[in-house]
Symmetry: C2
């Protein structure tokens, strides 16, 4: 393994860990939003808000990923977060 | 819209933008790795390295996302990055 490749891989590992922290931090915020909405009796899934977030993300996207890829990846993150909220809701019902 | 929800949404928007930057930064590093491997004639897809990254990520995962969700989301990010490398390779062939 040469040095250039090794250095790039270390950079990648660092970014992976930052991404991991941010993805989980995002999930925590979504859980808090879910709890507030639950108290207020508002539906947790808000397609308009989700569309707005995707629009903002693709507007700010400078690549190298295409907008379509950014949309796809964030939709997957949104979906996973929503599933997490459903789990919380189910747990709350079971308590 | 009450204040608590508005504040949480602003936090979420901030995290979205940080995630966007990091995901693209990760893609740039993967492109650089692809270029180095291309020069050296090494295959760009390395399943062992990918498995190692996923193991490291799930070991460091503190939630709230489950390890299975972290694996799933990162596999999607890896896949998108690999597709980006293929696009680069195709473009290089077309030049």
């Amino acid at each position: 393994m040469d040095n250039e490749l090794e250095q790039l891989r270390q950079q990648l590992d660092g970014v992976n860990m930052d991404l991991l922290k941010l993805i989980n931090q995002r999930a925590e915020i979504v859980q808090q939003i879910g709890a507030v909405k639950e108290k207020q009796g508002i539906n947790r899934f808000d397609p308009v808000r989700e569309r707005d977030m995707l629009t903002e993300l693709t507007q700010q996207n400078e690549g190298p990923f295409e907008n379509s890829t950014i949309e796809y990846l964030f939709k997957e993150i949104f979906k996973a977060s929503l599933e997490l909220q459903h789990d919380d809701h189910r747990k709350a019902l079971l308590v």
